[in-house]
Structures are given as structure tokens and as C-alpha cells.
Symmetry: C2
Subunit: 562 residues, 2 copies
């Protein structure tokens, strides 16, 4: 609104779809829409959740402000007896990373997933009442993606029935855990389990870090905040921390013993609980990241679209009103694909929810057949959607010109708080390499007659897809707003011929086949090039960049097909 004129009303009146119906589509269901609507109002009308002053707060003020909000949210959730669904919504509308995110999001689930019933009973009851506050101490200064390379040790001492937790080097310092720097009293610590001189690899342990009386770090524990991070607010509201152990002792029963245990005598015993269950959890976490990507991108696109409608510049012939920025092709070509992506990520996120349910049901019936495909698919989509979203938010910021650089545009904060999604829960490049390994395996099995399924079903049409042509009239390249999209496809085909009429690109089947042919050809080319190497690992290492591109093409196909 400016001087009583609503510059957006005219644009809104032009909508060619039913806006209320679209709201439900976006929310996923009438129920989800109602929950979201109700909880958002709860947060918006509560003065404790006020966000306006965040930018000018010092780090300390910001941190204290977040403590207050996190605890307030917890109280409301209890007082109003909110459901899990409502509680998650409330925390997301709070819109400020806080120490309790890790307590609820990682510490509690780790105990639920890896603790015995006895351990769950003891620790979850304390955690649920916030009598202890926990974080998730996995990443070390020198070890992120390569979890198997963690250096912290947990050596069993049969004399005292204790584990000795120790940080042998500087690179073994725990680094990054949210909630660790200032707040957490406990952590689930991942360390190499050593008993009878043998290293059994990385396991989880519940470790008390600070006194429950005066909150001071316990003897043998060095802990602190890792300092400022990207942006003004963003994750500076969170106390990401570092942690070192100096021969710190914990009782044996604080090893999380559902999947494997150490006996009083120091014997290592693996249980018969299938290890694949861990992957089920990863599918869950990553599908929620994909949903969050569509939310974050939608917020940015919403700001940039409104700005583009209101902002006018140039184009006035006779001193009249200038042209709306949204009417420039240069603006449309950058903004509209992002708008489309926000919707696409929404739909693929909804499909991933179904996939998670499906995988869970199969796991419960001990059917692990679809797990590798589901795992590759969620890993790849997590990577693709978070990269596209963080780049997309920054693009939206640029689309708002100088004004996008102002904190009050909302975009700098959104960018700074979003980009860690490219790193946490799996580095985006490393994840695509996992997808690539799965694709190479699938391609290699084609010749042995194994029928690919799920998101790789298209590979069953390999013969057709390797030979088919598609087409667009060349002139079309230069007159349509879909130009970039089409160009990208055309390029990637290399000898995928350009013949058909331009309108054919409006046929979803033809677009889908183009994406399928592209993904398949890139995968097959990689596989052929790999086969030229005697040493497979060396070949993989030489072809890393091509493999990542083939994996991304596969993921883009999934998004287009859902």
C-alpha cells in the first residue's frame, strides 16, 4: 500500500485459477491448511514471538531472545496440548533456529532409535520434561561427510565398567553441534568403540557435559561456542559449539545399546535388529528437508514477485508511469522458473511422504528390496532441491535490485538461514555421488536382464531412449519464456534432433521423454567411460564431475515426473 493505492490488487485480480483451491493444493489437504492457518495465527499474535527487532540485537541479546522463545513455545505446546503436527508447525513459524531444535530433532530421536527400552524409559522421561537438554555431537573439526573417519574414542575399561571418552587430536574436537556451545547438559556423542584393543567403529553414547546444579562443564570436558556464522541473525541465534574430552568417564550403560552392546566383561555383541532401519530414518529426515525447500523458495519467490509487480523502472515514453519490472523478459526469465520450481518441489515433497510410508511398511515386513532406490532418490532430491533453493533465494534477492540488499526485504536473512541445508544431513556433492554409484550399478545390471523399478523404471526403456529423437523448431528458442528450459534439455541431448513443432513441448509426455532420454544417456555415457578404466575406483575418481551431473539429471527427471 502506498498513499492508499494497492499496487498488487490489479495483478491479483488477473489470477486465472481458483486461489482458495490452490491454497489447499499447496498445503496438501484441508486438514493441513487448517492446522497451518490456526498455528500461524497463534504465533503471529503472541508478542513473545515478535521478530522485528532481531537485526539490531547484539549476539548476546539475540541468543537470550531465542532462549525465551524456545521455552515459551515448549510451554504453549504443553499448555494447549498441541499435537505433534501442530508442535512442528509452531516451531517452524517461530522462524528462529534455537537450541531445542536439536533436542527434539536429533537428541530425542537418537535415543528413540538407538536406545534400548530401558534406556528410552530413563532418558526420554528426563528429556521430555526438559530436566536435561541434549544435543547431537557427531561432526568433528576434521570429519564431516566421512562419518567412518571420526576420531573420538570410547574405550571400555572393564575394571570400572566404564567407557573412557577421549579426543586424541585437535581434528577430533566435536564441532558444529547446535545447542552444544552454551545450553546442553547432555549429548549423544559418536565415538569409535574400542574394547579388548579392538576398534568396532562409530557408536553413539549418552554423555553428560555440564553440571545439573550450576551448569558448569564437568571435569574432563572442554566446551564452548564456535562464534559467529553467516548473516546477521540466521544461525547466530543458535549456540553451535565445540567439545573436547580428556579421558572422560561414563558408565557402560550409557552406550546406546539397541543395535549392538558391550557386556560387563567387555565383549562386543551385535543385535539382530536390521541395520537398514537407519536408512528409513534418513528417508524421513530428507523428505522433510525437501518440503522445507519448497517453503523457503516460495517465501523468496513471493517477495521477489510482489516487488517485481510494484517496482517500476524505465519504459515511460512521455513522462507517464514507468513499466512494471515484472513485464521485462529479463525479469520473467529468472523469476518464473523459480516460481515453477517452488511448486515442483512441493509436489515431489508430497510424493516423498508417500515413499516414506511405503518404505516403512516394507521394512516392517522385512522387505528391503526397494530401500537402495528409495535411499538414492531421497539423497539426490535433498541435494538437488536444497542447492536449487539456496541459489534461488539469492537470485530472488538480486531480482529485487538494491532493495533486496536491505535486511528488511527479508531476503538476506532467508538466504543466510537457509544455505546450511546444502551441508547438513549430507553434503550436496557427496550425496549426488551416492546417487551416481546407485545409477552405475543399475546400468550395469541392465544387461543381466534385471528390471529396474521405481524412479529408475525409465531405464528399462534404454534401447528406445538411446535412439529416439525429439524436436523443437529452432526459431522457438528466441521467442518463448520457456526458452532456457528447452535449451537446457536440447543441449544435453547433443544429438537428440530438433525437428518437431514447438507446441509439442507443451505436451508433458514429450517433455518427460526428453528428460528420460537425457538422464539415461548421461548415465550410460558415464558407465561406458567407467568401463575403460581397469581400476573402478580410479575411474570413479577421474569421472567425479560427470557422475555428479548424471545424478543431477536423474533427480531433475524425478522432479519433472512427479
Amino acid at each position: 500500500m502506498d498513499g492508499g493505492i494497492d499496487h498488487l490488487a490489479d495483478e491479483r485480480s488477473k489470477a486465472e485459477f481458483d486461489v482458495d483451491a490452490m491454497k489447499l493444493v499447496w498445503a496438501g489437504s484441508r486438514h493441513a491448511f487448517d492446522v497451518s492457518n490456526r498455528v500461524s495465527r497463534l504465533v503471529a499474535t503472541d508478542p513473545v514471538f515478535e521478530k522485528r527487532n532481531r537485526a539490531v540485537m547484539s549476539r548476546k541479546e539475540l541468543f537470550k531472545n531465542t532462549l525465551k522463545k524456545s521455552v515459551h513455545a515448549w510451554k504453549i505446546i504443553n499448555e494447549l496440548r498441541l499435537s505433534d503436527e501442530e508442535a512442528i508447525k509452531l516451531r517452524s513459524f517461530m522462524d528462529q533456529p534455537g537450541f531445542l531444535d536439536l533436542h527434539w530433532g536429533m537428541f530425542v530421536p537418537a535415543i528413540k532409535g538407538q536406545g534400548t527400552e530401558e534406556q528410552q524409559k530413563k532418558w526420554l522421561s528426563l528429556a521430555n520434561k526438559l530436566q536435561i537438554i541434549g544435543c547431537y555431537a557427531q561432526t568433528e573439526l576434521g570429519h564431516g561427510s566421512n562419518v567412518q573417519g571420526l576420531e573420538t574414542t570410547a574405550t571400555f575399561d572393564p575394571k570400572t565398567d566404564q567407557f573412557i571418552i577421549h579426543s586424541p587430536t585437535q581434528t577430533s574436537s566435536k564441532f558444529w553441534p547446535g545447542g552444544l556451545g552454551k545450553v546442553s547438559t547432555h549429548a549423544v556423542v559418536y565415538a569409535r568403540l574400542i574394547t579388548n584393543g579392538k576398534d568396532h567403529g562409530v557408536h553413539g553414547f549418552i554423555v553428560q557435559l555440564r553440571s545439573l546444579d550450576d551448569h558448569s562443564p564437568l571435569p574432563g570436558i572442554t566446551v564452548g561456542d564456535i562464534g559467529m556464522k553467516f548473516g546477521n541473525g540466521a544461525y547466530n541465534s543458535m549456540d553451535n559449539g565445540f567439545l573436547m574430552f580428556d579421558h572422560y568417564r561414563i558408565p557402560r550403560d550409557q552406550m546406546l545399546m539397541r543395535l549392538s552392546k558391550v557386556t560387563r566383561e567387555g565383549k562386543y555383541v551385535a543385535s539382530d535388529v536390521p541395520r537398514q532401519l537407519v536408512y528409513g530414518t534418513m528417508v524421513f529426515v530428507r523428505q522433510s528437508i525437501v518440503s522445507n525447500a519448497s517453503n523457503a523458495l516460495a517465501r523468496a519467490v513471493c517477495i521477489a514477485t510482489r516487488y517485481s509487480a510494484v517496482r517500476r523502472q524505465f519504459g515511460s515514453q512521455s513522462g507517464g508511469i514507468e513499466t512494471q519490472v515484472i513485464d521485462y523478459k529479463t525479469q520473467q526469465n529468472r523469476l518464473f522458473p523459480l516460481l515453477a520450481s517452488a511448486y515442483a518441489f512441493r509436489f515431489v515433497g508430497e510424493w516423498l511422504k508417500w515413499l516414506y510410508t511405503d518404505v516403512t511398511q516394507r521394512l516392517e515386513a522385512s522387505d528391503f528390496a526397494t530401500l537402495p532406490e528409495a535411499h538414492a532418490c531421497t539423497a539426490g532430491l535433498k541435494s538437488m532441491t536444497t542447492s536449487a533453493t539456496s541459489d534461488g533465494i539469492e537470485e530472488c534477492r538480486k531480482l529485487c535490485g538494491g532493495h533486496g540488499y536491505l535486511w528488511c526485504s527479508g531476503l538476506p536473512e532467508l538466504f543466510a538461514v537457509y544455505v546450511p541445508a546444502c551441508t547438513y544431513e549430507g553434503d550436496n556433492v557427496v550425496l549426488q555421488l551416492q546417487v551416481a554409484r546407485f545409477l552405475m550399478k543399475t546400468v550395469s545390471q541392465l544387461s543381466s536382464g534385471k528390471v529396474p523399478s521405481g524412479t529408475t523404471a525409465y531405464m528399462g526403456k534404454a534401447k528406445h531412449l538411446l535412439q529416439c529423437s525429439s524436436g523443437v523448431q529452432k526459431g522457438y528458442f528466441f521467442t518463448d519464456t520457456c526458452r532456457r528450459f528447452i535449451l537446457v534439455i536440447s543441449i544435453c541431448f547433443l544429438n537428440y534432433n530438433v525437428e518437431h513443432a514447438a507446441e509439442d513441448w507443451l505436451n508433458p509426455d514429450m517433455v518427460l521423454e526428453a528428460f528420460e532420454a537425457r538422464a539415461l544417456r548421461m548415465a550410460v555415457t558415464c558407465a561406458n567411460n567407467l568401463s575403460k578404466f581397469e581400476n573402478q575406483e580410479q575411474g570413479f575418481s577421474e569421472l567425479l564431475a560427470e557422475l555428479v551431473e548424471a545424478a543431477i539429471a536423474h533427480c531433475q527427471l524425478i522432479v519433472v515426473s512427479k
Copy 2:
């Protein structure tokens, strides 16, 4: 250094070039290197210039810290009688945007360029002694790129021999000027000059904003700080401001009258000083932006390269030391082109210095023939290098994984402080459209036999470039680190055939011809498509995106050729 081991020494020992000689190449000359070296030590050893605590300061503390540094720098420059070259270096090593940047960089040059000798004598003497502090108030809330659309008015009142400066609308509020929010006592204000009821377009006026006694805004002036901007430190050390005038009066002789004036009677008189001189200044400012781009990108690449050498992850076969991240092709493919770009921007920046000298000499001899080409070339290079640099800094941040997200990596701050370069001194998209207009004009003149010169000389070879083929063996695409670079070229040729041996791409002439053919073909295609429209402006508007791409291709050619 970690536990006494210098992880970088091994990498450094592998350099295949003379590092000391390269330092001089980078600096431009032995003299430039010595100046840089000497001044950097001066700044590094002076405790007032300490930067370490910036991240944890509140906005107010940061602002006061910057005031102190800016004034300290000014004192040192005077006390040590530093040359202009040394003073510029010192302010750049201070590495913190401050209110005096605009005083020295815009306010003083505007008076020098547009003020009469009398005006220069009066105002520059006050400005040089900091008895007044000035800023540059051009951009308005609703008007950035389109300077001709500014709304602030300066109406001559013959009764009082004064101009009445007025902000008629909300969108006419001055917005963004650095130094305006808190510090400046004066501003060069751009406003529409109106006399005898006639609008003579935008002109500059020296306007006092605040009292020299108590620094309070003068009656009729509303002024303040526009609030937080992107990032934690970055431009938050600067008091970018807003400004509104309510029929504010200034004496007639505060209009900058070198290029045109208003007489006591209110008559508007244009001088015979050529208007083209303004473009000479723009060439100068933009060449310094290109040099700064190479500095900023080099800093980011330096951090990311060192990190990539030190960081190890995966690849250990038997519990030994892990693989250096720099040895992964995925890392190399992203990092090395940025390293190459930093050098390329350096060399093209040095060439632009020559161009500026050449243009200046020609202007002094009233030779304006090369000006359009020089103007298009610097506008395009400003756009291309600043876009590539800001994207490149963010890419370097990503290349440092989680650690790049830490403020102490230096990358978040570098990004936040750099990105405004894409907007100031000409929005990057708008600038490429100016280049495109120039290219279309050049293409249209080819048929009339006009020989293109300077950076468009290659267009004289149009016949050859439109027909020639080049080539790379296809297999080469998938094994070489230059792959992306080659792919980009190949793609853009569309029917530029792929035939020759791969090694030919190491031949600079062949690479240069490929870039020339690409730029020419894109420009000619745009020109052909434009000619299909009856209304040229409508055609331009429909083809905006293609025109920008053709302009970028032209700029990339310039960078490759220098």
C-alpha cells in the same frame, strides 16, 4: 599450522612458476607492489585498524568503530603526506566501508567535475579539511537505474534568487546514499531543474543538510538511516540514509554550474563543455571496479584453495591419511576456473587502465570517435566481472563446506560486502542491455561498410566467423578439467562442428576464434530476430534475454582476448 605441521608447505613447494615474479605481475609493476606492501604493513601494525572484533559488535559499536578508523586513516594520510595512490591503498586495506568513502569518492569528484572554478575553490577547500562532510544523493526510493526518472525538484524562485528543493512523493525520497544517514553535513543532490515553468531535466546541487553547530537536521530536511543491510558487518558499518525535502531553499549559486547554469533572471544556459566528458569519468570508475573484482575474487579463491589443500575427507583405504579435498575433480572443476578468472579480471583491469588513458587523451583532443565503444566495453566488463565475482565468492564459500559458513572463514563477510557491486554504478542487467544496443548498432552498420574497431574489430571478420567450424574430439568432453569451458563454447555454437583434435583447444588462437564466432553469431542472430519486428523498441523488449546473453558473450570474448 596444526601441531607443528605446515600442511600448505608441500603444496607451495610444487609451484612451477617464479612466485616472486608472479607477485609483481599481479601488482602490475614493481612500484605498485612496493606501495601495496608498504601500506599494507602500515595498516596491519596499527591497532586502530584491528578487524577481529567486528563480528560481535552491535550496529552502534560497529558504526562508531568505523568513524574512528575513517578519521584515523585521514589523519595518517595527512601526517605522513601520503600520495593519492598510497591513500587509496590505505583506505582499501582498512577494509571497512565508511562514510568518508563517499565523501572522497563521489562528493568531491562531483564538485570537481561539475562545479565552476569558483565553486571548486569554495567547496573543495572546506571538503578537503573535513570542515564539511559530503555525500552523493542521486538514487531515490522509486528510481535507481532510470536516473532520468528522478522526481525530486529544484524550482528556481527569481524573487529570492533561490532554488526550492522538494520531494513531491514518497517514491521521490532519496534512498541509499552512504554517509547520509548520520554523518554528512552536505550532499550533492540530483533534482529536476525547473525554471520559468520548464523542466530542464536532472542537475546537481550542493545542499546543506545539517547544522555545523549541533549537527541537527536543518528545518525542511527529514533524514535518517535506512537500517540494517545484508550480512553481519559489511555495509552495516556505513550509514546509508534516506532524505526528504519540504520546500527547502538553497542559494542559486549552489547549483553545480560548469555544464549548464541558471542566470539571476532564471534563464537556463547550457555551456559549450562537451557532455561526453561525463562518460570519461564513468570509464574511470568502472575500470577501478573491474580491478576490485579481481582483488575480491582472489581473496575468496585464496581462502578456498588453502582450505582445499588442508582439508582431507574420505579416500583412506586402510585407516591412513585421507585424501586432500583439492584432489577431487568435483572440487577442481569448481575452484580452478575461479582461480583463472581472478587472473583474467586482473589483466583485463590493467588493460582498462590503458583504455581510460587513451580515451582521456582523445577527449582532450575533442576526438569522441572511440567513446561509444569504450563506454560499452567498460559497462559490459563492470557487469560481467562483478556478477562473476559475487557468484564466485559464494561458490568459494560452498567449496569450504560447513567451515565456509563460519564468520571467521572470512567468506560470509566478503560476500556480503561485495555483492552491492552488482547494483551500484549501474545495475548489471541494465548495463548489458546498453552493451547490446551498441552491438546491434555495430552489426547494423556492417552492411554499410563501416569498419568496426577496438573490441568489436572481430566483427569485421563476420563472413568467416559465421561459416567457420572448430572442433574437439567428443571423448575429450569427459576427461579434461577444461571440459566445462569447452562445453560452454561448443553449446553456444550449435552448429559449430566438433572435428579437430582435442589438443587444438590448447592453442589460444583457436580458443579466441571460438569465442569470436560465438559472440558474433549470437549478436547476428539477435539482429536478425530484431529485424522481424516492425517496431524496434517492441522487438528489443521481446528479445531482452537473448540480447543480454549476446552482450555477455561479447564481454567474455574481451576478457579472453586481453
